[in-house]
Amino acid sequence: MTVIKETDFGTPAVHAATTVRLTIDGRQIDVPAGTSLMRAAAEAGIEVPKLCATDMIDAFGSCRLCLVEVDGRRGTPASCTTPAEEGMVVRTQTDRLKGLRRGVMELYISDHPLDCLTCAANGDCELQDMAGAVGLREVRYGYDGSNHVTPRDTSGETNPLYRPQDQSNPYFTYDPSKCIVCSRCVRACEEVQGTFALTIEGRGFGSRVAAGMNEDFLSSECVSCGACVQACPTATLQENSVIDIGLPEHSKVTTCAYCGVGCSFKAEMRGEEVVRMVPWKDGKANRGHSCVKGRFAWGYATHRDRILNPMIREKITDPWREVSWEEAFAHTARELRRIQHQYGREAIGGITSSRCTNEETYLVQKLVRAGFRNNNVDTCARVCHSPTGYGLGQAFGTSAGTQDFDSVEDTDVMIVIGANPTDGHPVFASRMKKRLRQGARLIVIDPRRIDLVRTPHVEAAHHLPLKPGTNVAVLTAMAHVIVTEGLCDERFIRERCDWSEFEDWAAFVAEERHGPEATAAYTGVDAEALRQAARLFATGGNGAIYYGLGVTEHSQGSTAVMALANLAMATGNIGRRGVGVNPLRGQNNVQGSCDMGSFPHELPGYRHISGDETRQIFEKLWGVELDSEPGLRIPNMLDAAVHGNFRGLYVQGEDILQSDPDTKHVAAGLAAMECVIVHDLFLNETANYAHVFLPGSTFLEKDGTFTNAERRINRVRKVMSPKNGYADWEVTLKLAEALGLDWSYRHPSEIMDEIAATTPSFAGVNYAMLDQKGSVQWPCNASVPDGTPIMHIDGFVRGRGKFIRTEYVATDEKTGPRFPLLLTTGRILSQYNVGAQTRRTANSTWHAEDRLEVHPHDAEQRGIRDGELVKLASRSGATALRARITDRVATGVVYTTFHHPDTQANVITTDYTDWATNCPEYKVTAVQVSPANGPTDWQQSYSAQAEAARRIAEPEVEPAE
């Protein structure tokens, strides 16, 4: 095993229709026109020395090390900035070049410390490599002169040029004394990440890299994505983990277990210890970029809070008792069978995890269907993107986004609605920003002024700050403008869609009551701005829609998804690069968990359980008869529990108590059950109500696959042994065995083989193929062996695209005198979901608590000042948290995140749900805000219960003699 070395081609790849042929060092090479000489050489395996060039960023031409000679031309041009031309004859190694390069290196090294042996980058330093490559043997200038290296000069005076290390960022250190001012970090921050947090300060010899206005990194605009650290050719920007541990000795490519972008990383290891996670340039979702979570926040995997031994207890008021795995499995199986015997086959169920692998999810739903013999299986997508599955399934025929992420490179107009990509999907947001800087236009539809509305070098053409809960009215009004102003793409609609359905829909949206002027009164969106935005989307070229939970988590979530599909079809924006309807999915494998048959009504591949043909496939393979009736959804399970006819639940990798709406109702449902089995890394909030705790494993400890928001199936590879003893799929397997099922999987690849054998859209997927191709986007089968980056190219999967009327129905959750404000919820860059992972990392440096964003006007009316504790109350409950006064939210709207269990924003949210899918209406709750002087009663009783429920009994020890 060795560390995976990626070739650095020096400058980015060029896509050109024509190629040119040139000769470099006697070798003939064909490259796309416009390719740099440096890249052309690298593609032929010729390494030109370089320092300021790297292929993630554009050429800069500052280090003067990559000079070459070109026959017939004077001088020694820099190979990174010189494009290859037909017939060029280039020499990369001549005596003249050698002399020049040594001279350049000599100058660099004269202002660089000579501490290679004790340097953190020893062995992984491009400066060191280049000194070797050019044969540097002496530095005639000496080291006594002016320099940035030593704190004091030879006479003991303070060296004004010296700057100490900046260790403010918890994950990396900036050591200016090692900086060669190549600007790679500055350019990576600008071109790759798009934050522009770094600059070169000063001029000439005094030039230094500075964050913000020469601030420390933490207080600058830096978002800690790690692009600068990755770009740095020296130890100037270095991961603290490398400083602490040393260099890795082997690595494996795996997939990040945070958001739905699904970034590929090289897990660089020393033995079983992770040294660092480095984004993989061949990863097709992230193209070599990362964010603060995937790059740095993996420390939770070895956090002391992890539970490593199975535990059981009779009652939730008892302390936990650690037991052997055998006892845990036997006990659990006994309990589940007892409950079924006593209360009926339907009295138990399971919840699959959007954080676990496809294979693990498949096994849990199989356990429920084949082992529990019912269809009471659901997944956390219920509470996030179930409307996406339903809405897009109805309109197009597939329950998934239509594009790959690369498609954004051809987008001319983006609609971002109900999503906050720079916080929720940061790596894709960077790709969006890159395209926007190239000139694409942006329409943001969001109650809040998210960062994308205006961030350095990016500004939305239109921001429509609608009232929470009025998505459908706004989208229908946009359709109204497009239809009534004659902006529809009639040819596309006639070719691809059902014309009579379109006519019906067009007549519906054209009604005056749907126009922006008529709807402005309750949407709060300026009619003229909406008209301009609609015109821009219809006429601005390739239009792509990106949306998130701000669309789905509403009482009309499914309707809003259909409204987006209508807009895309009406404007002909489906079926090619640069367009489409694209859900930004929240969790790493929420797409996969839906694909794997986690819903009570669907078998893998979105096939309804009532379909005899589909059921027979599984019945034959599994050797059991399957129930043809859909089972219970999560809210129904909890309702049934309260009513007494649902008594046992197996929850894998999900914290329903914290993440599901109306916490009190969830708690009541869980408390009414007799056997709640929580299978997780930590004693999460749900575990406070559990009777069995099965320790889970992290993504670093298992093999499998995750499917990201673009339907891309990425490999997850095991880099360390499970600290708890078993990977999650093995735990489910052993539980199934204890229940008497005869399962014989030896490796997750065999589970994938079963998925492929039973599910047409996965028919072509297997581990050997994934190892070879890196990743593949489903559908992948005999007709599309390489997968499907873009769907509906020649026609919709369902046949003809379906236009569906989208009547706006206001939610029942209404403001009134007691609850005059609307609360909407979201997330923040540094934390993830319920925070179980990120709160156990240094990411809390950025976001240590949930804050309530309040508009200055609303704050003033209530006498609330910035940073003060406020009580946030709804019809469901009340909690207390600190206020942040900001005009990012409109008056009448307040906003918070739900990352911290001591805030429990979901004690506020109600149990209203999407009409079609029961997806909770997290994004709209009528609330009141008032000054508070301490936690609410509920918070106090909750934390007392949590503390009591987390007690673990000391193991009984034999008394000493």
Partner: protein, 160 residues
């Protein structure tokens, strides 16, 4: 403290107004920085985020530009600015000694301002007056063939 805050926010508002007046221009940043320095005698650091915001740049970018140019200051200069040439020709003609003497007489250093706030002495590398070295520029006006006496006279003729 409150007064300092008020001055800061007034400066930010002024900088914002200046930036807004120029923001339609191509390459607006340099004209804005000149106008801000004209207004305050320097580019007060707290105005940088305001200028960045108007142009939709990051504050790092604006800081990078401000710190690149010698002529943008972060604190106001004295009432008169004296730029003494330190380039080769002037050095050869006794410029170095002249400068050393002046700094000693005024009890200040390079880029320093006299205690009474009257004079700021700055180095400059060539004023294009090599033929009449040593040279200096006093409040935008070039002077050649300097010696200690002439320099003292010139400075004494300046307004207090």
């Amino acid at each position: 403290m409150a007064a300092a805050d008020e001055i800061q926010s007034a400066q930010q508002a002024t900088a914002r107004a200046i930036a807004g007046a120029h923001s339609h221009r191509e390459g607006a940043l340099l004209p804005i920085l000149h106008a801000v320095q004209e207004e305050f005698g320097c580019i007060p650091p707290q105005t940088i985020p305001a200028i960045a915001d108007v142009l939709n740049l990051s504050r790092a970018e604006v800081h990078g530009v401000v710190s690149f140019y010698h002529d943008f200051r972060d604190t106001p200069a004295g009432r008169h600015v004296v730029k003494l040439c330190r380039a080769e020709a002037c050095q050869a003609m006794g410029g170095a000694a002249l400068a050393e003497q002046l700094l000693e007489d005024l009890d200040t250093g390079w880029s320093g301002t006299t205690a009474d706030g009257r004079l700021t002495i700055e180095p400059v590398y060539c004023l294009g007056l090599c033929a009449c070295a040593p040279a200096a520029m006093i409040d935008e006006k070039p002077h050649g063939r300097l010696d200690a006496a002439r320099l003292t006279t010139l400075l004494s003729e300046l307004a207090p």
